[in-house]
């Protein structure tokens, strides 16, 4: 009974918005060498009163954050056209603009954003679109505009209209730290605290449809895996085994959860059928087997094991039941995450005593170190495979940082206060 009382006291389930103000601050540190110059002209507001959100500011910062674009400063624009006939291409050529994005926003019950992208050199329309939705979702609509523009110009689907999970921690000297499992837009805006606890909260993970999350909470003074419905807030404790209960990872079809349990002695990978809660043991080894993650086809799992003496990445094939070692470079490779292409694998890699994020190309078998910070962990790839978020330390504080998969673009997302860690980038959100 003591445990129940403690649990109620230790943890607060919340779905409280902290307002539009982001907890995370974005600092771009490195972009591509020759970014595309794009003018995101302020979108014309055609509703009554003032616009609830400056859509073009959201789009502009999305494009800038990708590192592939150099947005034109509004103060340098010679005019704010909102229709094609108002665009004077020579004005844009004069300030070396390659593309111009214009738009119109109206809002009654629904917000409607009409936008069109023009190529200045060719003097032609490149892409034209409309986004519609609740005015409360104005920022998400703006991110969808960014997704379309990004795809029109790069050929890669945008991942701006996605969300992040992360753990924010406030240190309490001589006391118990304060943990907040937080959900925010991909740019850190609109943070919502999903769970508050004085005991550790870690390993947040997404269901493939983006509707559920899983995590590990120590609220009962022991680790347990929980699943939470983001829409209803309904929460379920999935495990309560002696020893480790950790590293939940949803299968691509959403039916199975891989996890780490040590109930049978040493840490091994298990699969839980989420409908029946039946467990299947995957690995059987006296060494540490942990950090499972699924290949996008759902046919194999990658995991970390120190069965060879030091932690390395292994691949377990579900059909054959065989495990094969994937990493050989370096004495420490752990916590892999796989891009949707099934080719790029990111992981924590130790070199000269420092922990970096590295990318292993499964086709060429080439390992490339992407980061130059030194206590990097918890990489999480965007659903379009272009960028990854990870946790690191900067000026003594835990911060989130991002890097493109080619290492060319970097930005930091420190919290305004305290430490942030364990970013989990959502899958594409269904509309």
């Amino acid at each position: 009974m003591k445990t129940v009382a403690l649990a109620l006291f230790n943890v607060v389930l919340l779905v409280v918005s902290l307002g539009a103000k982001a907890e995370l601050v974005i600092e771009i540190t490195q972009g591509v060498d020759d970014p595309t110059a794009i003018a995101v002209v302020p979108f014309a507001w055609q509703g009554s009163g003032t616009a609830p959100e400056d859509i073009s500011v959201v789009v502009q910062s999305d494009l800038e954050r990708s590192g592939q674009f150099a947005p034109v400063d509004r103060r340098d624009m010679l005019g704010f056209p909102s229709t094609q006939k108002d665009i004077f291409y020579r004005d844009w050529r004069a300030i070396e603009t390659e593309y111009v994005l214009i738009g119109r926003v109206s809002s009654t019950d629904q917000m409607r954003i009409e936008y069109e992208l023009f190529d200045v050199l060719r003097q032609a329309s490149v892409y034209k679109g409309v986004e519609q939705g609740s005015p409360n979702e104005a920022r998400m609509l703006a991110h969808r505009v960014s997704d379309r523009v990004y795809e029109a110009l790069t050929g890669i689907r945008g991942a701006f209209a996605t969300r992040l999970l992360y753990v924010a921690v406030t240190r309490v000297p001589q006391g118990k730290d304060h943990y907040r499992l937080t959900l925010a837009d991909s740019d850190g805006a609109r943070p919502i605290v999903l769970l508050e606890s004085r005991e550790p909260v870690l390993a947040p993970a997404w269901s493939p449809d983006g509707k559920h999350i899983a995590y590990v909470s120590f609220e009962t003074t022991r680790p347990a895996i929980y699943r939470q419905n983001l829409l209803t807030g309904a929460r379920e404790q999935l495990t309560n085994f002696r020893g480790l209960n950790g590293a939940p990872a949803w299968s691509p079809d959403g039916r199975t959860m891989a996890m780490v349990l040590s109930k049978d002695g040493s840490p091994d990978i298990y699969l839980m059928d989420l409908a029946s809660k039946r467990l299947t043991r995957v690995t059987r080894h006296y060494a540490i087997d942990t950090e499972p993650t699924w290949m996008p086809d759902g046919k194999s799992l990658l995991f970390t094991s120190d069965r060879g003496g030091r932690p390395q990445i292994y691949r377990y094939d579900l059909a054959s039941g065989q495990s094969n070692r994937l990493t050989y470079e370096g004495a420490y490779n752990a916590r892999a995450r796989v891009a949707q292409d099934g080719r790029n694998v990111v992981m924590v890699h130790q070199k000269s005593g420092r922990f970096h994020i590295a990318l292993l190309d499964l086709v060429t078998d080439r390992l490339q170190i992407l980061t130059s910070t030194e206590l990097d962990e918890s990489p999480s790839i965007a659903p379009n495979g272009s960028m990854l978020l990870y946790a690191t330390k900067f000026q003594g504080r835990g911060i989130l940082a991002a890097v493109s998969v080619d290492g060319g673009v970097k930005f930091r997302l420190p919290a305004r206060d305290g430490d942030v860690r364990e970013p989990a980038w959502s899958p594409y959100m269904s509309r």
């Binding site: 240190r171 730290d177 550790p200 870690l202 390993a203 120590f218 003074t221 022991r222 680790p223 002696r242 020893g243 480790l244 950790g246 590293a247 780490v260 040590s262 840490p267 540490i288 942990t290 950090e291 970390t304 120190d306 932690p311 420490y332 752990a334 916590r335 924590v348 130790q350 922990f355 206590l375 962990e377 918890s378 330390k393 003594g396 364990e422």
Partner: protein
């Protein structure tokens, strides 16, 4: 560790003996029996007292020894091998644990380097190394619970070996 009320038991027994003496009647026959009972009770009481005194002194001595060595045992990087100092300190706790039936919780911790879930497993391996050492000295596994916190609860928050070495530990509670 939970302190068992050994001294408390002795006090209860003393009180029972005193109660028996006080209840003896004034009737001659009964008073003879009562006197015999009282004498027996008196003897029992003296024996109890002596035993309790001896055991509480011994208990207190063992408890002091365990407290003197502390309840935190430290490890090398990525290692779950008990250091000679840790073994020596644990021996004092084992002597105490073998004299009673208390249960203990072993909380395993790591430093911040490496990944969180691997560290969770490493913390458990450290706690289990302590558990196994205790089992080897006769403290049954069912009395010991291992819980790993990985790198989640550092003692020293900063980076560098001076903080890291404080954080690679098992706490006996």
């Amino acid at each position: 560790m939970k302190h068992l009320p050994v001294a408390g038991k002795a006090i209860t027994l003393l009180f029972t003996a005193a109660f028996l003496v006080a209840c003896s009647g004034s009737d001659t026959k009964e008073s003879d029996e009562a006197a015999a009972a009282a004498a027996a009770a008196e003897a029992a009481r003296a024996a109890e007292q002596a035993a309790a005194a001896a055991s509480s002194t011994e208990e207190a001595r063992m408890r002091e020894a365990a407290m003197a060595v502390g309840n935190v045992f430290y490890f090398e990087f990525d290692s779950s091998t008990l250091t000679p100092q840790a073994r020596e300190a644990l021996d004092a706790h084992i002597v105490l644990l073998k004299s009673n039936d208390q249960t203990v919780r072993l909380e395993g911790h790591t430093d911040e380097r490496g990944t969180r879930e691997y560290n969770m497993a490493l913390g458990e391996r450290r706690a289990n190394a302590v558990r196994d050492y205790m089992a080897g000295s006769g403290v049954a596994n069912y009395r010991v619970e291992s819980v790993s916190y990985g790198e989640e609860q550092p003692v020293g928050y900063g980076s560098g070996e001076s903080n890291w070495s404080q954080n690679r530990r098992v706490e006996l509670k």
